[in-house]
């Protein structure tokens, strides 16, 4: 495979430099729309900071002796942020983007907090987002492994047993309709009462969220071979185990990876939710909780973005594994 590029592949039949140019154009094609969207979001964010932070901007200005309308603090408190910002446009704009504990911190403040939390702190520090990220990630990965294993096992059972097909899937669906925020404290309490604490309860909550997409995807994947492919193996007198190993399992791989990408993101959410009710001292959930206790909005937003970046990295890593594996299997993904 290595020496034969597909004849019809993009960029086949042209030189290396032309291929590089094509690649650059491809990057350009994706970069421009992505950058546009990011710029639009940032613009809206900055704009939203003005009314969101108007109360404290105007208050700070009034305390500094600048004339604001209306003059009475009681009256100002009655007003919405937008109205207040419109009444004092100059003060509201100038004070919106640098506040300590702003109701909505500006993007550059969040970015600065993110930077300080990652590059600015030693990794072992309690203030390091890398440290908190690792605490959450370890629970996420453990839960993801448990959830994926459980999901695959259930899917194999569902595909091979009519009884499981009828009984398991409805319960799996019901399990996902229960709000995780309601069930998470119960899981933690129950596990604590039998002496299990630390990473495992969080991982269990992660697994609870991540097994479901794997079950659904794998059932679909294991059932994806058509009648002809199954007939073919029947003509060889293949056993059920051989049909599974030679046909169903490889055929399900693209479906599995689609599910894993959803599953890892759900796992991360599960781990964070698992950190909330315990009053955990470490992890993104703990950072979010502490941030909201002390009104440290920048800390909340930084933890939120760190979680999103971590999820993106996990999904990206799965994408790399997927391309490598399916590429090795000769599939075009």
């Amino acid at each position: 495979m290595t020496d034969t590029a597909p004849i019809s592949g993009q960029g086949a039949g042209i030189g290396r430099s032309a291929r590089a140019a094509l690649w650059m154009r491809g990057i350009g094609h994706t970069l421009v729309p992505v950058a546009t969207i990011v710029a639009a979001i940032l613009g809206l964010w900055y704009l939203a900071c003005i009314p969101m932070n108007a109360q404290s901007s105007v208050l700070a200005a009034a305390r500094a002796g600048i004339a604001v309308t209306p003059e009475s603090p009681a009256e100002r408190r009655q007003m919405g942020g937008l109205a207040l910002a419109l009444a004092n446009p100059e003060v509201a704009v100038s004070g919106a983007f640098g506040q300590d504990r702003a109701r909505l911190p500006a993007p550059h403040q969040v970015a600065a907090e993110l930077w300080a939390g990652t590059a600015g702190e030693p990794i072992g520090s309690n203030r390091s987002l890398v440290y908190h990220g690792w605490v959450t990630l370890s629970a996420t990965l453990l839960g993801f492994v448990i959830g994926t294993g459980l999901g695959i096992a259930l899917a194999v059972g569902i595909v091979h047993s009519r009884v499981m097909d009828m009984s398991v899937l409805p319960w799996a669906i019901v399990s996902q309709t229960v709000p995780i925020i309601a069930i998470a404290p119960m899981i933690i309490v129950v596990l604590y009462s039998i002496g299990i604490q630390g990473i495992v309860p969080k991982a269990v909550i992660s697994a609870y969220l991540s097994f479901f997409p794997v079950v659904v995807g794998m059932v679909k994947g294991l059932r994806s071979p058509d009648g002809m492919q199954l007939d073919l193996l029947a003509t060889y007198g293949a056993s059920k185990a051989q049909i599974f190993r030679k046909l169903r399992l490889p055929a399900s791989m693209p479906y599995l990876f689609a599910s894993l990408k959803i599953g890892i993101a759900a796992s991360l959410v599960g781990a964070i939710v698992g950190e909330l009710p315990t009053g955990a001292s470490a992890g993104f959930g703990a950072r979010l909780l502490a941030g909201s206790y002390y009104g440290q909005t920048e800390q909340i937003w930084a933890a939120l973005f760190a979680a999103a970046i971590l999820a993106a990295l996990c999904v990206g890593a799965l994408g790399v594994v997927e391309r490598a594996l399916l590429g090795r299997m000769g599939m075009r993904s």
């Binding site: 495979m1 034969t4 597909p6 004849i7 002809m228 492919q229 007939d231 073919l232 193996l233 029947a234 003509t235 060889y236 007198g237 293949a238 051989q242 030679k246 046909l247 490889p250 055929a251 791989m253 299997m329 000769g330 599939m331 075009r332």
Partner: protein, 275 residues
């Protein structure tokens, strides 16, 4: 190909017994659908001997594919008797008595051509060395040397179908069942594959059951042509071909060929009118 039978690990069942390879008597298959029973096959009597090349031709719904699937043990007849190599069709299937070629090549996209041909050998538990040898030999047999490391999507439709024939030949069963294997291919490729198939049959001496809806294809390939008609699916005529076993492509312009084709066409027409 003859040398591959000698030291095979699991001895494939050859049809070299005294009796017919396929024998059907009063064979009947009725599907029960919501719109009432569908008689896919009714009163089918047929005996096929060792080394014959029998084509099944007829309009859609005449039961030609259903009959082939019954022989393969993929469908269970609802009445009559059917034996393959002297045993029940299901026992013959489990004894790996036949190779089956489907209308679509159906190669696994995640396996190379080599890997696809190895598939039945892996399932049947041939030794590693034997697998390698058989893959090499069957690739040569269908003229695909040098394409073993390619993936199916890198091959043309005709080459894919040849690979699927190689897959069916690799474990060297004495019987080859082919269900419109060239139906999806264009005329030029089909002509070439027909010629190759005849040569292959000549070299291996296998018993062939071949479903088609092309009259020239049926006449060109077969020693016997079974004409079938629908509603209920049944045999309306069986034509012994007077053509010699050696058949160059231009035999299709000969008097005998045209006569046989004419008889097939008449049989098809009669079957349609009766239905």
């Amino acid at each position: 190909m003859s040398d591959t039978t000698s030291d095979a690990t699991p001895e494939p069942v050859s049809g070299a017994g005294a009796g017919p390879v396929v024998s059907a008597a009063n064979l009947e298959l009725t599907f029960h659908t919501n719109d009432g029973p569908v008689h896919a096959l009714k009163d089918v009597d047929l005996e096929i001997g060792q080394g014959e090349f029998v084509s099944f031709i007829g309009p859609s719904g005449c039961g030609k594919t259903t009959f082939l699937r019954c022989v393969a043990g993929l469908e269970t007849p609802t009445g009559g008797r059917l034996s393959v190599n002297g045993m029940s069709a299901d026992a013959a299937r489990r004894a790996r008595a036949y190779g089956y070629v489907f209308q679509a090549a159906g190669l696994y996209p995640w396996r190379t051509i080599d890997g696809n041909i190895r598939l039945p050998l892996e399932i049947m538990g041939f030794s590693e060395e034997e697998k390698r040898r058989r893959v090499r030999d069957t690739l040569a047999l269908v003229d695909l040397e040098g394409f073993g490391t390619k993936y199916p999507w890198q091959l043309s439709g005709g080459m894919q179908q040849r690979a699927s024939i190689a897959r069916a030949l690799s474990f060297d069963a004495g019987l080859l069942l082919m269900d419109e294997p060239f139906g999806a291919l264009d005329e030029i490729v089909r002509d070439r594959l027909n010629e190759e198939l005849l040569a292959l049959w000549g070299r291996t001496g296998k018993t062939m059951l071949f479903v088609t809806h092309s009259i020239p294809e049926a006449v060109y390939l077969s020693t016997r042509i079974v004409v079938m008609s629908p509603r209920p699916g049944r045999i309306s005529d069986v034509i012994e071909s007077p053509l010699p076993r050696e058949r160059p492509l231009d035999i299709r312009d000969s008097r005998e060929f045209i006569d046989v084709a004419h008889r097939v066409r008449e049989g098809l027409r009669a079957g349609m009118e009766a239905a």
